[in-house]
Protein backbone atom coordinates (compact mmCIF):
# COMPACT_ATOMS: atom_id res chain seq x y z
CA UNK A 1 0.00 0.00 0.00
CA UNK A 2 1.16 3.52 -0.78
CA UNK A 3 1.65 6.23 1.80
CA UNK A 4 -1.55 7.76 3.09
CA UNK A 5 -2.30 11.18 1.62
CA UNK A 6 -2.58 14.00 4.16
CA UNK A 7 -6.17 15.07 4.79
CA UNK A 8 -6.81 18.58 3.53
CA UNK A 9 -9.89 20.35 4.80
CA UNK A 10 -12.00 22.79 2.87
CA UNK A 11 -13.92 25.63 4.56
CA UNK A 12 -17.10 23.87 3.39
CA UNK A 13 -16.27 20.91 5.65
CA UNK A 14 -17.08 23.12 8.63
CA UNK A 15 -20.31 24.57 7.25
CA UNK A 16 -23.53 22.96 8.49
CA UNK A 17 -26.78 22.67 6.57
CA UNK A 18 -28.42 25.16 8.89
CA UNK A 19 -28.73 28.53 7.17
CA UNK A 20 -27.94 31.69 9.16
CA UNK A 21 -30.98 33.81 9.94
CA UNK A 22 -29.04 37.00 10.69
CA UNK A 23 -30.17 40.20 9.01
CA UNK A 24 -28.69 40.62 5.52
CA UNK A 25 -25.65 42.88 5.84
CA UNK A 26 -24.79 41.67 9.37
CA UNK A 27 -21.08 41.62 10.19
CA UNK A 28 -21.41 38.13 11.64
CA UNK A 29 -21.64 36.57 8.15
CA UNK A 30 -18.07 37.64 7.45
CA UNK A 31 -16.90 36.45 10.86
CA UNK A 32 -18.45 33.03 10.26
CA UNK A 33 -16.80 32.80 6.84
CA UNK A 34 -13.43 33.77 8.36
CA UNK A 35 -13.91 31.06 11.01
CA UNK A 36 -14.53 28.41 8.33
CA UNK A 37 -11.30 29.46 6.59
CA UNK A 38 -9.32 29.50 9.83
CA UNK A 39 -10.58 26.06 10.83
CA UNK A 40 -9.73 24.62 7.41
CA UNK A 41 -6.23 26.07 7.68
CA UNK A 42 -5.75 24.63 11.16
CA UNK A 43 -6.94 21.31 9.76
CA UNK A 44 -8.59 19.67 12.75
CA UNK A 45 -11.56 17.51 11.70
CA UNK A 46 -14.98 18.81 12.84
CA UNK A 47 -15.48 15.92 15.29
CA UNK A 48 -12.44 17.11 17.23
CA UNK A 49 -13.86 20.60 17.74
CA UNK A 50 -16.37 21.87 20.32
CA UNK A 51 -17.97 25.25 19.80
CA UNK A 52 -19.67 26.85 22.79
CA UNK A 53 -21.68 30.06 22.85
CA UNK A 54 -23.96 32.05 25.11
CA UNK A 55 -27.06 33.87 23.95
CA UNK A 56 -27.43 36.54 21.29
CA UNK A 57 -27.30 36.88 17.52
CA UNK A 58 -23.64 35.90 17.33
CA UNK A 59 -24.17 33.01 19.73
CA UNK A 60 -26.07 31.19 17.00
CA UNK A 61 -22.71 30.47 15.39
CA UNK A 62 -22.12 26.91 16.71
CA UNK A 63 -25.23 25.75 14.85
CA UNK A 64 -23.79 26.97 11.59
CA UNK A 65 -20.75 24.73 11.90
CA UNK A 66 -20.31 20.97 11.71
CA UNK A 67 -18.35 20.94 14.98
CA UNK A 68 -19.94 19.81 18.23
CA UNK A 69 -21.99 22.80 19.33
CA UNK A 70 -23.49 24.08 22.56
CA UNK A 71 -25.64 27.22 22.33
CA UNK A 72 -25.76 27.56 26.09
CA UNK A 73 -27.00 30.03 28.69
CA UNK A 74 -26.65 33.82 28.57
CA UNK A 75 -23.17 34.79 29.72
CA UNK A 76 -22.19 31.24 30.65
CA UNK A 77 -20.30 30.11 27.58
CA UNK A 78 -16.89 30.39 29.24
CA UNK A 79 -17.64 28.21 32.31
CA UNK A 80 -19.16 25.54 30.06
CA UNK A 81 -16.24 25.69 27.64
CA UNK A 82 -13.77 25.36 30.55
CA UNK A 83 -15.62 22.27 31.77
CA UNK A 84 -15.51 20.74 28.30
CA UNK A 85 -11.80 21.43 27.92
CA UNK A 86 -10.93 19.95 31.31
CA UNK A 87 -13.09 16.87 30.70
CA UNK A 88 -11.72 16.31 27.20
CA UNK A 89 -8.46 18.23 26.74
CA UNK A 90 -7.91 16.76 23.29
CA UNK A 91 -10.83 18.75 21.90
CA UNK A 92 -10.18 22.06 20.21
CA UNK A 93 -12.57 24.32 22.13
CA UNK A 94 -13.86 27.57 20.65
CA UNK A 95 -16.10 30.01 22.46
CA UNK A 96 -18.20 32.68 20.77
CA UNK A 97 -20.62 35.36 21.82
CA UNK A 98 -21.43 39.02 21.77
CA UNK A 99 -20.28 41.98 23.84
CA UNK A 100 -23.34 41.86 26.09
CA UNK A 101 -22.93 38.14 26.67
CA UNK A 102 -19.22 38.41 27.34
CA UNK A 103 -18.70 41.72 29.11
CA UNK A 104 -21.95 42.28 30.95
CA UNK A 105 -24.00 39.19 31.69
CA UNK A 106 -20.95 36.93 31.62
CA UNK A 107 -18.49 39.64 32.60
CA UNK A 108 -17.67 38.00 35.92
CA UNK A 109 -16.47 34.84 34.24
CA UNK A 110 -13.95 36.44 31.93
CA UNK A 111 -11.20 37.37 34.44
CA UNK A 112 -11.31 33.90 35.95
CA UNK A 113 -11.16 32.17 32.59
CA UNK A 114 -8.15 34.34 31.78
CA UNK A 115 -6.31 33.68 35.04
CA UNK A 116 -6.90 29.93 34.70
CA UNK A 117 -5.42 30.10 31.22
CA UNK A 118 -7.15 27.16 29.64
CA UNK A 119 -6.30 26.50 26.02
CA UNK A 120 -9.45 28.14 24.60
CA UNK A 121 -10.13 30.60 21.82
CA UNK A 122 -12.76 33.19 22.76
CA UNK A 123 -14.18 35.16 19.84
CA UNK A 124 -16.40 38.09 20.75
CA UNK A 125 -18.52 39.66 18.05
CA UNK A 126 -18.62 43.17 19.43
CA UNK A 127 -21.44 45.17 17.83
CA UNK A 128 -21.83 47.70 20.66
CA UNK A 129 -25.55 46.95 21.02
CA UNK A 130 -28.01 44.27 22.15
CA UNK A 131 -29.23 43.43 18.65
CA UNK A 132 -31.29 40.30 19.26
CA UNK A 133 -33.51 42.12 21.75
CA UNK A 134 -33.91 45.06 19.36
CA UNK A 135 -31.30 47.62 20.25
CA UNK A 136 -30.63 48.30 23.91
CA UNK A 137 -27.40 49.77 25.30
CA UNK A 138 -24.66 47.18 25.67
CA UNK A 139 -21.44 47.38 27.72
CA UNK A 140 -19.46 48.58 24.70
CA UNK A 141 -22.02 51.12 23.43
CA UNK A 142 -20.30 54.47 23.03
CA UNK A 143 -21.08 57.35 25.33
CA UNK A 144 -24.08 59.42 24.19
CA UNK A 145 -25.39 56.64 21.92
CA UNK A 146 -29.16 56.91 21.52
CA UNK A 147 -30.91 53.59 21.82
CA UNK A 148 -34.32 52.40 22.97
CA UNK A 149 -32.97 52.32 26.53
CA UNK A 150 -31.10 55.61 26.20
CA UNK A 151 -33.37 57.85 24.14
CA UNK A 152 -31.42 60.93 25.24
CA UNK A 153 -28.02 59.29 24.88
CA UNK A 154 -25.93 56.88 26.93
CA UNK A 155 -24.58 58.30 30.18
CA UNK A 156 -22.17 55.42 30.91
CA UNK A 157 -18.67 55.16 29.51
CA UNK A 158 -18.17 51.93 27.58
CA UNK A 159 -16.09 48.99 28.68
CA UNK A 160 -12.80 48.76 26.80
CA UNK A 161 -12.61 45.01 26.10
CA UNK A 162 -9.04 45.09 24.82
CA UNK A 163 -7.61 46.92 27.80
CA UNK A 164 -9.79 44.86 30.11
CA UNK A 165 -8.44 41.47 28.97
CA UNK A 166 -4.85 42.71 28.75
CA UNK A 167 -5.07 43.96 32.32
CA UNK A 168 -6.40 40.58 33.45
CA UNK A 169 -3.34 38.95 31.91
CA UNK A 170 -4.67 37.37 28.72
CA UNK A 171 -1.68 35.93 26.89
CA UNK A 172 -3.12 36.43 23.39
CA UNK A 173 -5.24 39.45 22.46
CA UNK A 174 -6.26 40.44 18.95
CA UNK A 175 -8.83 42.49 17.13
CA UNK A 176 -10.35 42.06 13.68
CA UNK A 177 -13.18 43.16 11.47
CA UNK A 178 -15.15 41.40 8.72
CA UNK A 179 -14.05 44.30 6.51
CA UNK A 180 -10.77 42.40 6.16
CA UNK A 181 -11.75 38.75 5.97
CA UNK A 182 -8.25 37.53 5.08
CA UNK A 183 -6.82 39.36 8.07
CA UNK A 184 -9.58 38.10 10.35
CA UNK A 185 -9.12 34.48 9.23
CA UNK A 186 -5.40 34.78 9.95
CA UNK A 187 -6.05 36.26 13.42
CA UNK A 188 -8.50 33.47 14.30
CA UNK A 189 -6.07 30.84 13.03
CA UNK A 190 -3.24 32.34 15.13
CA UNK A 191 -5.54 32.46 18.15
CA UNK A 192 -6.48 28.80 17.74
CA UNK A 193 -2.84 27.80 17.39
CA UNK A 194 -1.80 29.75 20.49
CA UNK A 195 -1.31 27.39 23.46
CA UNK A 196 -3.40 29.20 26.07
CA UNK A 197 -6.35 31.55 26.46
CA UNK A 198 -6.72 33.52 23.25
CA UNK A 199 -9.09 36.45 23.00
CA UNK A 200 -10.26 37.89 19.70
CA UNK A 201 -12.46 40.97 19.66
CA UNK A 202 -14.19 41.29 16.32
CA UNK A 203 -15.86 44.57 15.55
CA UNK A 204 -18.92 43.11 13.85
CA UNK A 205 -21.49 45.82 13.16
CA UNK A 206 -25.21 45.34 13.68
CA UNK A 207 -26.83 46.43 10.43
CA UNK A 208 -30.28 46.87 11.96
CA UNK A 209 -29.77 48.47 15.37
CA UNK A 210 -26.11 49.52 15.16
CA UNK A 211 -24.64 52.89 14.38
CA UNK A 212 -25.21 53.93 10.76
CA UNK A 213 -21.80 55.56 10.60
CA UNK A 214 -19.94 52.52 11.96
CA UNK A 215 -20.70 49.71 9.53
CA UNK A 216 -18.36 47.41 7.58
CA UNK A 217 -17.97 50.04 4.85
CA UNK A 218 -16.64 52.55 7.40
CA UNK A 219 -14.38 49.87 8.88
CA UNK A 220 -12.74 49.44 5.46
CA UNK A 221 -11.82 53.10 5.42
CA UNK A 222 -10.86 53.41 9.09
CA UNK A 223 -8.99 50.18 9.86
CA UNK A 224 -5.26 50.25 10.45
CA UNK A 225 -3.37 46.98 10.59
CA UNK A 226 -0.99 46.75 13.51
CA UNK A 227 1.51 45.10 11.18
CA UNK A 228 1.60 48.17 8.95
CA UNK A 229 2.24 50.34 12.02
CA UNK A 230 5.24 48.20 12.99
CA UNK A 231 3.59 47.17 16.26
CA UNK A 232 5.58 44.70 18.37
CA UNK A 233 3.01 42.16 19.55
CA UNK A 234 5.30 40.83 22.29
CA UNK A 235 5.39 44.24 24.01
CA UNK A 236 2.60 44.34 26.59
CA UNK A 237 2.89 48.07 27.32
CA UNK A 238 2.75 48.93 23.65
CA UNK A 239 -0.31 46.65 23.34
CA UNK A 240 -1.98 48.47 26.23
CA UNK A 241 -1.19 51.79 24.68
CA UNK A 242 -2.84 50.71 21.40
CA UNK A 243 -5.76 49.19 23.31
CA UNK A 244 -6.51 52.55 24.90
CA UNK A 245 -7.66 53.75 21.48
CA UNK A 246 -10.60 51.31 21.44
CA UNK A 247 -13.61 53.32 20.29
CA UNK A 248 -11.58 55.95 18.48
CA UNK A 249 -9.18 53.91 16.31
CA UNK A 250 -9.77 50.58 14.61
CA UNK A 251 -6.53 48.66 15.00
CA UNK A 252 -6.56 45.16 13.59
CA UNK A 253 -4.18 42.29 14.13
CA UNK A 254 -2.46 40.79 17.14
CA UNK A 255 -2.14 43.33 19.93
CA UNK A 256 -0.37 41.03 22.32
CA UNK A 257 1.05 37.54 22.19
CA UNK A 258 3.02 36.35 25.19
CA UNK A 259 6.18 34.87 23.66
CA UNK A 260 6.62 32.56 26.65
CA UNK A 261 3.27 30.81 27.05
CA UNK A 262 2.60 29.71 30.61
CA UNK A 263 1.39 26.15 31.28
CA UNK A 264 -2.34 25.86 30.68
CA UNK A 265 -4.78 24.85 33.39
CA UNK A 266 -5.94 21.85 31.36
CA UNK A 267 -2.34 20.64 30.99
CA UNK A 268 -1.78 21.09 34.73
CA UNK A 269 -4.97 19.17 35.54
CA UNK A 270 -3.80 16.31 33.36
CA UNK A 271 -0.38 16.31 35.03
CA UNK A 272 -1.90 16.30 38.48
CA UNK A 273 -4.26 13.48 37.57
CA UNK A 274 -1.32 11.42 36.36
CA UNK A 275 0.74 12.21 39.45
CA UNK A 276 -2.10 11.27 41.77
CA UNK A 277 -2.91 8.03 39.99
CA UNK A 278 0.70 6.82 39.57
CA UNK A 279 1.60 4.52 42.38
CA UNK A 280 -1.77 4.88 44.06
CA UNK A 281 -3.91 1.81 44.68
CA UNK A 282 -6.38 0.80 41.99
CA UNK A 283 -10.11 1.45 42.63
CA UNK A 284 -10.58 -2.34 42.94
CA UNK A 285 -7.98 -2.51 45.74
CA UNK A 286 -9.60 0.42 47.58
CA UNK A 287 -12.98 -1.34 47.34
CA UNK A 288 -11.48 -4.59 48.58
CA UNK A 289 -10.09 -2.70 51.59
CA UNK A 290 -13.55 -1.43 52.49
CA UNK A 291 -15.14 -4.84 52.03
CA UNK A 292 -12.58 -6.51 54.28
CA UNK A 293 -13.41 -4.09 57.07
Amino acid sequence: MGAELPVVFDPKDYKSDLKPIWCPGCGDFGVLQAMYRALASVGRPPHEIAFVSGIGCSSRIPGYTTAYGFNSVHGRALPIAQGIKIANPDLLVLVAGGDGDGFSIGGGHLPHAIRRNLDLTYIVMDNQIYGLTKGQLSPTSPLHLKTVTSPHGAMEAPVNPLLYVLAYGAPFVAQGTPADMAGLAQIIEDAIRYPGFAFVNVQSPCVTFGQDDWQVKQHRAAMKTLESLGHNSTDLLSAMDKARSYGSELYTGILYKNPNPAPTYDAMVRERQQALTTGSPSPARILDGFLQK
Binding site: P11, K12, A185, V207
Partner: protein, 176 residues
Amino acid sequence: MSTKTRGIDFSKLSLKDALDLAILVEEEAEERYVELAHQMEIHRTEEAAAFFRFMAINEKKHGSELSERRKKLFGDAPREVRRTMIFDIEAPDYDEARAQMSPHEALTVAMSSEKKAYEFFVAALPHLSDPEVRSLFEELRQEEIHHQELVAKELAKVPATKDALGDAFEDEPLAL
Protein backbone atom coordinates in the same frame (compact mmCIF):
# COMPACT_ATOMS: atom_id res chain seq x y z
CA MET B 1 -4.58 42.33 -3.79
CA SER B 2 -2.87 41.27 -0.58
CA THR B 3 -6.19 41.27 1.28
CA LYS B 4 -7.78 39.04 -1.36
CA THR B 5 -5.30 36.16 -1.29
CA ARG B 6 -3.10 34.45 1.22
CA GLY B 7 -0.07 32.30 0.46
CA ILE B 8 -0.15 32.69 -3.33
CA ASP B 9 3.05 33.79 -5.05
CA PHE B 10 1.79 35.24 -8.33
CA SER B 11 5.29 35.38 -9.79
CA LYS B 12 5.47 31.59 -9.57
CA LEU B 13 1.89 30.80 -10.53
CA SER B 14 1.68 27.94 -13.06
CA LEU B 15 -1.10 27.56 -15.59
CA LYS B 16 -2.60 24.71 -13.57
CA ASP B 17 -2.59 26.81 -10.41
CA ALA B 18 -3.98 29.80 -12.28
CA LEU B 19 -6.85 27.71 -13.65
CA ASP B 20 -7.53 26.30 -10.18
CA LEU B 21 -7.52 29.81 -8.76
CA ALA B 22 -10.00 30.96 -11.41
CA ILE B 23 -12.25 27.95 -10.70
CA LEU B 24 -12.19 28.68 -6.96
CA VAL B 25 -13.03 32.33 -7.61
CA GLU B 26 -16.16 31.22 -9.51
CA GLU B 27 -17.05 28.64 -6.85
CA GLU B 28 -16.74 31.22 -4.10
CA ALA B 29 -18.94 33.66 -6.02
CA GLU B 30 -21.53 30.96 -6.74
CA GLU B 31 -21.73 29.98 -3.08
CA ARG B 32 -22.03 33.60 -1.98
CA TYR B 33 -24.88 34.29 -4.40
CA VAL B 34 -26.68 31.21 -3.10
CA GLU B 35 -26.17 32.49 0.46
CA LEU B 36 -27.47 35.94 -0.47
CA ALA B 37 -30.47 34.38 -2.23
CA HIS B 38 -31.28 32.48 0.92
CA GLN B 39 -30.91 35.62 3.05
CA MET B 40 -33.36 37.38 0.74
CA GLU B 41 -35.82 34.48 0.78
CA ILE B 42 -36.01 34.36 4.56
CA HIS B 43 -36.53 38.12 4.60
CA ARG B 44 -39.25 37.94 1.96
CA THR B 45 -37.25 39.75 -0.67
CA GLU B 46 -38.17 37.41 -3.51
CA GLU B 47 -37.09 39.46 -6.52
CA ALA B 48 -33.57 40.05 -5.26
CA ALA B 49 -33.45 36.36 -4.27
CA ALA B 50 -34.39 35.31 -7.81
CA PHE B 51 -31.69 37.53 -9.23
CA PHE B 52 -29.04 36.19 -6.86
CA ARG B 53 -30.02 32.62 -7.77
CA PHE B 54 -29.67 33.57 -11.42
CA MET B 55 -26.19 34.94 -10.74
CA ALA B 56 -25.26 31.74 -8.88
CA ILE B 57 -26.20 29.71 -11.95
CA ASN B 58 -24.01 31.92 -14.10
CA GLU B 59 -21.04 31.62 -11.79
CA LYS B 60 -21.50 27.86 -11.73
CA LYS B 61 -21.50 27.80 -15.51
CA HIS B 62 -18.26 29.77 -15.68
CA GLY B 63 -16.69 27.51 -13.10
CA SER B 64 -17.70 24.38 -15.03
CA GLU B 65 -16.21 25.75 -18.25
CA LEU B 66 -12.94 26.46 -16.51
CA SER B 67 -12.98 23.04 -14.85
CA GLU B 68 -13.39 21.31 -18.22
CA ARG B 69 -10.46 23.25 -19.58
CA ARG B 70 -8.36 22.37 -16.57
CA LYS B 71 -9.26 18.69 -16.87
CA LYS B 72 -8.29 18.63 -20.55
CA LEU B 73 -4.89 20.15 -19.84
CA PHE B 74 -3.98 18.64 -16.49
CA GLY B 75 -6.34 15.73 -15.85
CA ASP B 76 -6.75 14.93 -12.17
CA ALA B 77 -3.46 16.47 -11.03
CA PRO B 78 -3.95 17.56 -7.41
CA ARG B 79 -4.86 21.14 -6.58
CA GLU B 80 -2.25 23.28 -4.91
CA VAL B 81 -4.42 26.40 -4.63
CA ARG B 82 -7.12 26.09 -1.99
CA ARG B 83 -10.20 27.94 -0.83
CA THR B 84 -8.40 29.04 2.32
CA MET B 85 -6.14 31.16 0.09
CA ILE B 86 -8.79 33.36 -1.54
CA PHE B 87 -11.09 35.97 -0.04
CA ASP B 88 -14.07 37.54 -1.79
CA ILE B 89 -12.43 38.04 -5.18
CA GLU B 90 -15.67 37.93 -7.16
CA ALA B 91 -18.03 36.99 -4.34
CA PRO B 92 -20.28 39.89 -3.38
CA ASP B 93 -19.46 41.43 -0.01
CA TYR B 94 -21.84 40.33 2.73
CA ASP B 95 -22.34 43.89 3.91
CA GLU B 96 -23.83 44.93 0.58
CA ALA B 97 -26.96 42.86 1.16
CA ARG B 98 -30.00 44.39 2.83
CA ALA B 99 -33.39 43.03 3.75
CA GLN B 100 -36.04 44.33 1.33
CA MET B 101 -33.41 45.40 -1.18
CA SER B 102 -34.77 46.36 -4.57
CA PRO B 103 -33.92 44.56 -7.82
CA HIS B 104 -31.90 47.63 -8.77
CA GLU B 105 -29.88 47.34 -5.56
CA ALA B 106 -29.35 43.61 -6.18
CA LEU B 107 -28.03 44.34 -9.66
CA THR B 108 -25.76 47.01 -8.19
CA VAL B 109 -24.31 44.39 -5.85
CA ALA B 110 -23.56 42.18 -8.87
CA MET B 111 -22.01 45.11 -10.70
CA SER B 112 -19.64 45.92 -7.86
CA SER B 113 -18.65 42.24 -7.65
CA GLU B 114 -17.81 42.14 -11.35
CA LYS B 115 -15.75 45.31 -10.92
CA LYS B 116 -13.99 43.81 -7.94
CA ALA B 117 -13.02 40.71 -9.95
CA TYR B 118 -11.81 42.87 -12.82
CA GLU B 119 -9.63 44.91 -10.44
CA PHE B 120 -8.20 41.71 -8.98
CA PHE B 121 -7.07 40.40 -12.38
CA VAL B 122 -5.69 43.82 -13.37
CA ALA B 123 -3.72 44.08 -10.10
CA ALA B 124 -2.34 40.56 -10.53
CA LEU B 125 -1.10 41.01 -14.12
CA PRO B 126 2.18 42.87 -13.38
CA HIS B 127 3.18 40.12 -10.93
CA LEU B 128 2.81 37.23 -13.39
CA SER B 129 5.83 35.78 -15.12
CA ASP B 130 4.43 32.78 -17.02
CA PRO B 131 3.17 33.95 -20.45
CA GLU B 132 0.35 31.36 -20.48
CA VAL B 133 -0.84 32.51 -17.07
CA ARG B 134 -0.67 36.12 -18.18
CA SER B 135 -2.76 35.29 -21.24
CA LEU B 136 -5.32 33.48 -19.07
CA PHE B 137 -5.58 36.44 -16.68
CA GLU B 138 -5.96 38.84 -19.59
CA GLU B 139 -8.78 36.67 -20.90
CA LEU B 140 -10.43 36.60 -17.46
CA ARG B 141 -10.08 40.35 -17.15
CA GLN B 142 -11.79 40.77 -20.53
CA GLU B 143 -14.61 38.48 -19.43
CA GLU B 144 -15.20 40.63 -16.39
CA ILE B 145 -15.56 43.68 -18.66
CA HIS B 146 -18.10 41.75 -20.72
CA HIS B 147 -20.01 40.77 -17.58
CA GLN B 148 -20.06 44.37 -16.43
CA GLU B 149 -21.56 45.40 -19.76
CA LEU B 150 -24.28 42.77 -19.43
CA VAL B 151 -25.12 43.79 -15.88
CA ALA B 152 -25.12 47.45 -16.93
CA LYS B 153 -27.67 46.64 -19.65
CA GLU B 154 -29.92 44.96 -17.08
CA LEU B 155 -29.47 47.85 -14.66
CA ALA B 156 -30.63 50.27 -17.33
CA LYS B 157 -33.87 48.29 -17.68
CA VAL B 158 -34.66 48.30 -13.97
CA PRO B 159 -35.79 51.47 -12.25
CA ALA B 160 -33.89 52.53 -9.16
CA THR B 161 -36.99 51.91 -7.05
CA LYS B 162 -38.49 48.99 -5.21
CA ASP B 163 -40.44 47.96 -8.34
CA ALA B 164 -40.48 44.38 -9.52
CA LEU B 165 -38.00 42.91 -11.95
CA GLY B 166 -40.77 41.26 -13.88
CA ASP B 167 -39.91 38.12 -15.80
CA ALA B 168 -36.39 39.14 -16.67
CA PHE B 169 -34.71 36.49 -14.56
CA GLU B 170 -37.26 33.71 -14.74
CA ASP B 171 -36.07 32.36 -18.07
CA GLU B 172 -32.87 30.58 -18.89
CA PRO B 173 -29.86 32.43 -17.51
CA LEU B 174 -28.43 35.05 -19.79
CA ALA B 175 -25.06 34.26 -21.31
CA LEU B 176 -23.21 36.35 -18.75
